[in-house]
């Protein structure tokens, strides 16, 4: 019974089968990405302009998502917030995953003292609580977009390293790795051509998961006031500055929360429902 249902809800395209949840999730992600790119051209009001006489104004014509605690247009601020949340997180997760995965593969292939030193050092990094680390760095050097990106990346490198190393160690024991070594291949070839193609799918899944963590951590930092500084605001900052609207059920506090939830949940669902390659020989 379950078998039959699983088969019928999957369609195929270009040799891959996909399902409805994955498609919806990727549409949500695509929508937020487009918003992040085109936000400056579509926002009805500049984000700093006070356009409402009232604060925490309700949804109405012209101000589709109401106004915030200063009477600024919430729609414009959420759309622009997408830019910072998605942009900063994407940059940070790219740096974190790239460095982590490359270091992890090198450690797995090389082994010996390099592996030991790298692993112990990154384990030590991992033991520092992430919020505390972010807090200290931001307090020390101040908050700016590059600092935020680098801080978030550094916090998530050890995890990406551990994950990639664990996968690569398994691949490293396969006979084709021995064959390549006896052929005399360099480390760059070994990690790029032999290992990476075999771990790329779980690494991409990890990339998505880590993106979610970074969105949440960035929102958390912004909520604490350590993230983006006014008048710029990402979604976490929007929640914090409008938290006073909670008793009035103001859309100003609900909408950015929903935005964070929709993005993170969609990424998670997409990872769980990535298109499956059809391994059927004759299909």
């Amino acid at each position: 019974m379950t078998m039959a249902r699983a088969v019928s809800s999957r369609r195929s395209l270009l040799g891959h089968s996909y399902n409805l949840v994955g498609v919806v999730a990727s549409l949500v992600i695509l929508a937020w990405t487009l918003v992040a790119i085109f936000a400056p051209y579509v926002i009805p009001h500049p984000i700093g302009d006070i356009v409402d006489d009232d604060y925490f104004g309700p949804m109405r014509q012209g101000l589709w998502l109401g106004s915030d605690y200063l009477g600024r247009d919430m729609l414009s601020r959420v759309l622009m917030g997408a830019r910072y949340t998605v942009g900063i997180s994407l940059a940070a997760v790219s740096i974190a995953c790239f460095s982590g995965v490359v270091l992890g593969m090198i450690a797995a292939v090389t082994g010996g003292w390099l592996d030991t030193c790298l692993s112990r050092f990154l384990d030590a990094m991992n033991s520092i609580p992430s919020k505390l680390f972010g807090l200290v760095v931001v307090a020390a050097v101040g908050s700016s977009i590059p600092v935020l990106i680098l801080t978030l990346a550094v916090i998530y490198i050890p995890g990406a390293y551990r994950f990639a190393r664990a996968l690569a160690v398994n691949i490293n024991t396969m006979d084709f790795m021995t064959v390549a070594r006896v052929r005399g291949e360099s480390t760059v070839y070994l990690i790029g051509s032999e290992i990476l193609p075999n771990i790329i799918r779980p690494v991409l899944a990890d990339f998505g998961l880590r993106f979610v963590f970074i969105v949440l951590l960035l929102s958390g930092l912004s909520f604490l006031g350590l993230g983006l500084q006014p008048p710029l605001a990402d979604w976490g900052a929007l929640v914090r500055e409008n938290i006073g609207g909670l008793p009035f059920a103001a859309p100003a506090v609900i909408v950015p929360s929903l935005a964070i939830a929709s993005l993170t949940i969609s990424v998670n669902l997409l990872i769980d429902n990535l298109p499956q390659k059809i391994r059927d020989r004759d299909a």
Binding site: M174, A180, V182
Partner: protein, 551 residues
């Protein structure tokens, strides 16, 4: 109902992940009388295990029994509910899997697991079950039958574990036992003990059996009748004697023919055999901490010397754990030697592959046993074969593509296969790709580490024929490592017998009938013959067995 098992027109289907329905079993019928042992024989993918499992009413995930009747002891297993089937499994029908090592729970004692069946089905009180188990241990000629139950699975050997698996199957007094390749993973000397034990227990209890195997010689010893399967259909059925002497079906004949490999004729090449290609002197290698004398604690290869002449082949034969694979890895430099010399083509080689020159690496290629792990699953065949071409010979894209075609022709694979991934190839095809990659380097010596062990008899003999042809064309030398005497005999000019890391004897194939060393005698006499009376007539020197039959 006259027969214990009557299968009529059995059909089993599978659904692939593209939703396509494939017929796996296309209308198989077979009978098994009370107390009769029927062997299901065929190559991998022929459906032999699927048919055997269906006797328990079981179809593996993704498969469905879609038609036909499976009458076992008067009940149609296909029509019963899962609950009713579960009641019959272990009591009426029992199963002995291929790898007992993977089927025992490592964290509980053997006795607990053997008598678990009686507890699940409430057959007898635990005390009585334990007594019955000890009787079975004795009947299966296990050492220390009273004490062995208290041990854990890792504390007994592979051959013993396989017999304990049989004890687990027999404790519920089944009418039918299904053996799924139970001796395939065992060494020949161990296999004999296990086969003898199975045969005597089955005969004494008058139990019917289904014996799944791809090894005709093993089946000849234990089965009353043989059913030959191919492509989900019965090709031929007959008593063991009939199948062995007057096989009708071409596939059965092919199976039989694969058993008598053609002896290779000596090379006409005048140059061959005159020049030494590889010389190894007193090579020692092992594992564990290095001691004061510079040698490792556990010596897997102990002072082995050998010579391979140009255009000639050396066979290395021995049982698992004798150090033959370590020897291959030491020669290739994967596992650097602790002591000894390797002279290749007149020059002394560094012990570690890392320090050897690129040409030295190119001229000596190693081919591994499991093509599944030796080929990168993420790359198409084309990329796999063309990498050595780019790496060693620096060929450009066009030249590479041409050479890949040539290499595929050489190993008798269709050219269109170059776009496939390894997972889309059969076992024999994968091994050919594995070999083509070694050929791409233009080597002088190829070390073949058990390359036919994971293949079916018919496929393996085809691969051996291919190796012989390539040798004639390219003037290669092989070091052929195997536990299978018939394979080594078919291709090698010299055979080296290894035991416990040491070389015990080196002989030529025409003298394998009369080896000098006692271990070689034991090993060679343990290889099953097609003659059904071979096992019963086999007399082994008990002193020899206790000295060398290490499990």
């Amino acid at each position: 109902m006259t027969n214990l098992v009557e299968v009529r027109n059995l059909k089993i289907e599978a659904t692939t992940d593209a939703g396509r329905v494939v017929d796996i079993i296309k209308g198989v019928s077979l009978d098994i009388a009370d107390g009769e042992i029927v062997a299901l024989i065929g190559e991998s993918g022929s459906g032999k295990t699927t048919v055997a499992l269906s006797l328990m009413g079981y179809a593996r995930p993704g498969c469905r029994i879609t038609g036909g009747e499976i009458n076992v002891n008067g009940k149609d297993m296909a029509a019963l509910s899962e609950k009713e089937r579960a009641r019959l499994r272990g009591t009426d029908i029992a199963y002995v899997p291929q790898s007992a090592a993977a089927s025992f729970n490592p964290s509980s004692t053997i006795m607990e697991q053997v008598i678990e069946v009686t507890r699940i089905h409430k057959l007898m009180p635990p005390e009585q079950a334990r007594r019955r188990a000890v009787e079975l241990f004795r009947a299966l000629s296990l050492p220390d039958p009273d004490g062995i139950g208290a041990r854990y699975p890792h504390q007994v050997s592979g051959g013993q574990l396989q017999r304990l698996g049989a004890a687990m199957a027999l404790i519920g007094d089944p009418k039918l036992v299904i053996f799924d390749e139970p001796t395939t993973a065992l060494d020949v000397t161990t296999q004999i003990d296990v086969l003898k034990a199975f045969k005597s227990v089955m005969r004494a209890g008058g139990i019917a059996g289904v014996y799944v195997s791809h090894d005709l010689a093993v089946v000849a010893q234990i089965a009353d009748r043989i059913v030959v399967l191919k492509g989900g259909e019965v090709q031929e059925t007959g008593t063991t004697g009939e199948i062995l002497s007057t096989a009708q079906h071409p596939y059965t004949r092919e199976l039989l023919a694969a058993f008598e490999p053609k002896r290779r004729q000596a090379l006409a090449d005048a140059d061959a055999g005159k020049k030494e290609l590889l010389r190894i002197d007193n090579l020692t290698a092992g594992y564990g901490p290095v001691r004061d004398d510079g040698l490792p604690l556990v010596r897997a290869v102990d002072s082995v010397s050998l010579v391979v002449e140009k255009g000639r082949n050396l066979g290395v034969i021995g049982e698992s754990g004798c150090g033959k694979s370590t020897l291959a890895r030491v020669i290739a430099g994967i596992h650097p030697a602790a002591a000894g010399e390797i002279v290749f083509d007149g020059k002394e080689l560094e012990r570690a592959a890392r320090k050897r020159g690129q040409d030295q690496l190119r001229e000596m290629q190693i081919v591994f046993q499991y093509a599944d792990t030796a080929l990168n699953p993420a790359k198409p065949v084309e990329d796999i074969i063309s990498r050595p071409l780019a790496f060693y010979h620096g060929l450009d894209r066009q030249a590479r593509s041409k050479r890949v075609d040539e290499l595929l022709d050489m190993v008798r694979l269709p050219r269109a296969l170059r776009y496939r991934h390894p997972s889309e190839l059969s076992g024999g095809q994968k091994q050919r790709v594995n070999f083509a990659r070694a050929l791409a380097a233009d080597p002088k010596l190829i070390i073949c580490d058990e390359i036919t062990s994971a293949l079916d008899t018919v496929v393996a003999s085809a691969v051996i024929e291919l190796l012989k042809e390539l040798q004639r064309e390219l003037g290669l030398s092989y070091i052929f490592i195997s536990h299978d005497l018939s394979v080594v005999e078919a291709i090698c000019d010299q055979i080296m017998v290894m035991y416990n890391g040491e070389r015990v004897e080196q002989i030529t194939p025409d003298k394998v009938k009369t080896p000098a060393h006692p271990y070689s005698k034991l090993l060679f006499s343990s290889v099953p013959k097609l003659d059904p009376t071979w096992l019963d007539g086999l007399v082994r020197d008990p002193a020899l067995v206790s000295q060398y039959g290490h499990r």
